[in-house]
Symmetry: C2
Subunit: 336 residues, 2 copies
């Protein structure tokens, strides 16, 4: 039932516009990296972002004249299929019609999607893959993408699968960057891990966490992961706390979407089993009717931080197909 995906030598430029940096490169339709450029810092005003993106695209296009499309994965709410970025925390753009601007500037067909959607598509195409899969990214924030019946699911307007905004603790104390109290993100992100770690270090100022960070006030998610890998019980307890919340969010996700695979990526997921084992335990505790169903696997992402721009390039090429997923859609039965 997999859609027919052409693994040919057409090229696309891919970009990943995040809160802090822009990653870019050129990939072919098989997802092979043809060229990558060093990530550049993401400017803080909209005109400068556009300028940086244009320069990157122009350079990559000049060096790779076989390029037939441009794909962008961008943090924030991205209106589909217009590729208009409506809003994004930590970035300057507001209601930016990036797809149109890119097409005008380059003369190439462009695709602009959410960054987690792009990374999800890369993982589906080149990494851990299933016909019904959720991709979750745990970094500074928490995001996600979904493949249903072998197609990227975007909802009606492109803003589906705002996984970090699953409401899991509405009467809790943490306010999300989006303004709502109760979202998963402030409980299960890298930033949350830093906060948990800071509190643990303050409670034990001579402990591994505080020492490693150079003071309780300087603990970050990375410090916690490093201390956990070094075997520090206090640091491991914080990853368990993160996994507790992540498992709750995944339980809701599986109860609603009935996927067969959940892939966890992003910087915090590099902690591996130290995060995944408590996540699985929490998931099994909270998913409904666990005894009456096959539980989906919760596995680490195979692709690393390049998944965003590679996935954006692949989406741009798959969009360019006369009919990505056509075989599937033409089938008379089953499907989403």
């Amino acid at each position: 039932m997999r859609p027919r995906i052409h693994d040919d030598d057409r090229l696309a430029i891919g970009l990943d516009i995040g809160g802090t940096k822009i990653a870019a490169g050129v990939a072919d339709a098989g997802g092979r990296v043809v060229e990558r450029v060093p990530a550049v810092p993401c400017p803080s005003d909209q005109a400068a972002i556009l300028k940086a993106v244009s320069v990157l695209v122009e350079e990559l296009h000049a060096r790779n004249p076989g390029t037939v499309a441009v794909g962008v994965g961008a943090a924030g709410l991205v209106h589909w299929p217009e590729g208009r970025i409506r809003t994004a925390p930590n970035t300057a753009y507001r209601d930016l019609p990036l797809r149109r601007l890119l097409q005008e500037a380059t003369g190439l067909p462009a695709l602009v999607d959410n960054d987690a959607n792009a990374a999800c598509w890369a993982e589906y195409r080149k990494g851990n893959s299933a016909s019904y899969m959720a991709f979750i990214t745990v970094g500074t924030g928490v995001g996600g993408g979904l493949v249903l019946a072998d197609r990227l699911f975007r909802g009606r307007t492109g803003i589906a699968m705002e996984f970090g905004h699953t409401i899991v603790d509405p009467h809790g104390a943490e306010r999300c960057g989006c303004g709502v109290v109760g979202c998963l993100e402030p409980l299960a992100s890298g930033r949350a891990l830093g906060r948990y770690g800071g509190a643990a270090a303050a409670a034990e100022p001579g402990g591994t966490l505080a020492t490693l960070a150079g003071g309780p006030g300087r603990v970050t998610g990375e410090t916690v992961s490093a201390a956990a890998r070094a075997g520090d019980p206090a640091a491991r307890a914080q990853l368990e706390r993160l996994g507790h919340w992540l498992g709750i969010g995944i339980a809701t996700l599986v109860n609603l979407f009935d996927v067969e695979l959940v892939v966890v990526g992003g910087g915090v997921a590099e902690a591996g089993e130290l995060l995944l084992a408590p996540t699985r335990a929490s998931f099994a505790r909270y998913v409904t009717a666990a005894a009456h169903r096959e539980l989906p696997a919760i596995e680490p992402a195979r692709l690393g931080p390049e998944a965003g721009w590679i996935g954006a390039a692949l989406l741009a090429l798959d969009q360019d197909e006369p009919a990505p997923g056509r075989e599937h859609r033409e089938g008379p039965g089953g499907g989403a």
Copy 2:
């Protein structure tokens, strides 16, 4: 983009097997009721359920020889497309291959789906309708169905959209019938309303609620709704409490599925605006990026308690189509 749906005179038998009763009738492909029979109590053992279903189908088939299919909506987890009922709270069946048994007994093509899916499809076809819509039923329990890109969404194995098991209060006090602590159902169902009302009546033994029920211990969801309609502030506060939780669940649903319409049905929804107004307020408070998106409408269901069996009949006829949704699936772009 709507799938082509034939509004013709083919007939199907529809059944709705709930926890307490079985409703049945015959409808045509336009969803028009051709015959309905009085609901019968649902027996408490599996053999008796099968017997009751067989008798109903046989009688309806005999009186309506033009019947070409049988559709069943059943409470519980229903494996799709096998139509095997894996488990259901409050009913006797366990791993019952109902679709196969019905086909063998009747010689007609049969379809067995979750009861909320069937009601959702009836609402989509004949009631409040949108290409991306969620249907929520608030009765004894809380259930739901989803239409994405004009197709009923069932997930990989048929058990998607277990909306009552959205985890909204994992550190709370209420244990769900499924065994998990944190599910929406024990906080937003008719049973929860009865519990809330009972506590309110106990706090005010001479109040409207207690009087109407004939004692604080005898308050049910229905009593609370009746007292609220009569203007009792204590009863209205309980519907507001239900709406608070329902809005939280809907916020997660909309954050994940990006639907344009949420339809609320089921017995408790007959309270109308007394429930829907607080639900909308809570939803607007908890949905992410409310200022940057068009908020979906939250509206009452147009169809009543017959939606289950009518939707099951319609699903059976739409399944019988060579390609329900084919036009949509053949389109080159968009979609789920």
